[in-house]
């Protein structure tokens, strides 16, 4: 059995070595694939805070992913059309600056998570899942009918947004930026998990009524976790939109929320690198099997089935021999 920290370092090393190899082998598409894996991993790391530590099975996290994407799409769209965004008396200029777009994505997603969390966290179990799903569908259908930003067809962005000091049009530089953000998110997750807040959240997942008897408000703990989780997933949405230079209602789809959960389960629920391993495997299978058959998701389903039945700790659980937390 391998210690989890070694697995974590090996995975991170893989994410450094593979794109560097691709750079020297002149395989930019591999770098793009790695970038896609990193961004999906970031989204799942966000969800893993709510799901893995807090036990919140959210089937509506695509809301935050989509909001982050549309925050990028709308700001960049107004920048490229030179037409300001008019919200009643408020006039906002478009921008191609990634830091500004990221802050917008973080704030928008966090606010949405606050509102959705306040309503949905009053319920538990299957009702929580259904409410978050309902919010996801609301945003999905709203975006379909939002003709100002492409409606069902989505919105294309013709430029890659800027980051100070970097040429983000270079795949390797954009990849490095995304990897740095992912590492930051992993750092947040790691600190959070062992902080008094993270421990209390973990305790609230196990026994909310017992947490109350030691003076902690489980609703407040879960809400804060949900907001942090939503904000990180929103940030990943902005990066995803930048990678594809395209946003569409599919970013809000419940299938995407489901995919994020699948990534976490495959890698290991509540494990630091679980979402990263899950995302890497997902993108690799999508690329390798997707070229052979359009039914590649069937094979992903088989893997998921085997893991759920025989390895509740996911791939990290298999490698370490330790099951993950019960969610």
């Amino acid at each position: 059995m391998i210690a989890e920290r070694w697995i974590n370092w090996i995975v991170l090393l893989g994410f450094v070595v593979l794109p560097l190899w691709a750079l020297f082998a002149d395989e930019p598409f591999t770098i793009t694939l790695a970038t896609r894996a990193v961004i999906l991993a970031l989204a799942a790391v966000g969800l893993n805070i709510a799901l893995g530590i807090g036990g919140l099975v959210s089937l509506g996290h695509a809301v935050f992913f989509g909001l982050g994407g549309y925050a990028m799409g709308i700001l960049a769209h107004h920048a490229q059309t030179y037409a300001p965004l008019e919200l009643g008396p408020l006039v906002i200029e478009g921008t191609k600056s990634m830091p500004i777009i990221w802050v917008t994505a973080l704030v928008t997603s966090a606010l949405a998570a606050l509102v959705i969390g306040l309503l949905s966290l009053r319920t538990t179990g299957v009702y929580f899942i259904m409410i978050t799903l309902a919010f996801g569908q609301m945003f999905f259908f709203f975006s379909i009918s939002w003709s100002a930003y492409g409606g069902e067809d989505g919105l294309s962005i013709y430029v890659r947004n800027d980051f100070p000091g970097l040429n983000t049009l270079q795949p390797i530089q954009f990849f490095g930026l995304c990897l740095a953000v992912l590492c930051l998110a992993l750092g947040i997750h790691s600190r959070l998990r062992t902080s008094p807040f993270g421990l209390a959240l973990n305790a609230a997942r196990q026994a909310p009524e017992r947490v109350e008897t030691v003076g902690l408000n489980p609703m407040r703990l879960k809400l804060l976790a949900f907001v942090i989780s939503g904000a990180l997933t929103g940030l990943s949405g902005a990066l995803f939109a930048d990678l594809n230079r395209f946003v569409s209602p599919t970013m809000f789809s419940w299938q995407l929320s489901g995919e994020l959960i699948v990534l976490i389960i495959i890698g290991g629920v509540g494990r630091l690198m679980g979402p990263v391993i899950g995302a890497a495997l997902f993108v690799a299978l999508e690329h390798l099997l997707g070229g052979l058959t359009e039914f590649w998701l069937v094979w992903l389903g088989v893997i998921l089935l085997l893991i759920v039945l025989f390895a509740r700790g996911g791939i990290i659980g298999i490698l370490t021999g330790k099951a993950g937390p019960n969610v």
């Binding site: 421990l199 973990n202 305790a203 196990q206 026994a207 109350e212 030691v214 003076g215």
Partner: protein, 228 residues
């Protein structure tokens, strides 16, 4: 100074009434034994005090009415509960169990592990893998880490080996002597209660049927009201 005041407390589990008029008072620094036969409402009284179940009647802590408060707010006022059946956070380690509940005050990780040396040796061990006695120590330690003004122990020695029971009683005595913390004790061990408690309240059929100094809990009183 009266810390906890319970007057004519009534409570029910859904349509089933469980308390019909519990009265008790607990002063700061005092140790009160809450006694009674099984099913007489001792644990229900504790749950009502901690606002884990709805109740009617007078219920105040340090002069503050507890009725409008949620359970976590009551705990933050300074009520530390060690619930019946230990109920540690099973997936967390010993240290994590203690840190998760910690609030500033004289009870720190070092002081709790000094009070319960077995916990020091098992700091990195998951709570689920501890023995019953160690889990009980952890449950008391977790409550102490909230730095309460009133510690409520519900059957803290139930089902434990005699040597472990002795360790728990020694710890309770040490808490009383070293900190002067108010303690509400539910237990069936008359001999140990007599050594620690200042006063006793006995419940019968969901209401207070006897109260007085612990020295007056004679064998006759215990036999008549508690059945021991």
């Amino acid at each position: 100074m009266i810390l906890l005041k319970v007057e004519n407390l009534h409570a029910s589990y859904g349509p089933v009434p469980a308390l019909f008029g519990v009265n008790l008072e607990l002063a700061a620094g005092e140790v009160l034994a809450l006694m009674g036969r099984n099913g007489m409402g001792k644990t229900t009284t504790v749950k009502a005090i901690c606002r884990m179940i709805p109740a009617n009647g007078g219920l105040s802590f340090d002069g503050q009415d507890l009725h409008r408060m949620p359970s976590h707010a009551v705990a933050r006022l300074g009520l530390g509960l060690v619930p019946e059946g230990r109920r540690c956070f099973r997936d967390l380690t010993v240290e994590e169990n203690l840190i998760a509940a910690a609030r500033r005050g004289e009870w720190t990780l070092q002081r709790v592990t000094a009070l319960f040396p077995p916990l020091e040796a098992r700091r990195a061990q998951r709570a689920a893998s501890l023995s019953g006695g160690e889990q009980q120590m952890l449950a008391i330690g977790r409550a102490l880490m909230t730095n309460p003004r009133l510690l409520i122990l519900d059957e803290a020695t139930e089902g434990l080996a005699p040597i472990v029971r002795q360790e728990i009683w020694s710890a309770i005595t040490a808490i009383k002597q070293e900190t002067g913390m108010a303690i509400l004790l539910i237990d069936k061990s008359l001999r140990e209660l007599a050594q620690v408690a200042d006063r006793a309240v006995i419940l019968g059929r969901g209401k207070t049927v006897w109260s007085g100094a612990m020295t007056y809990v004679t064998a006759d009183v215990a036999r008549d009201y508690v059945g021991i």
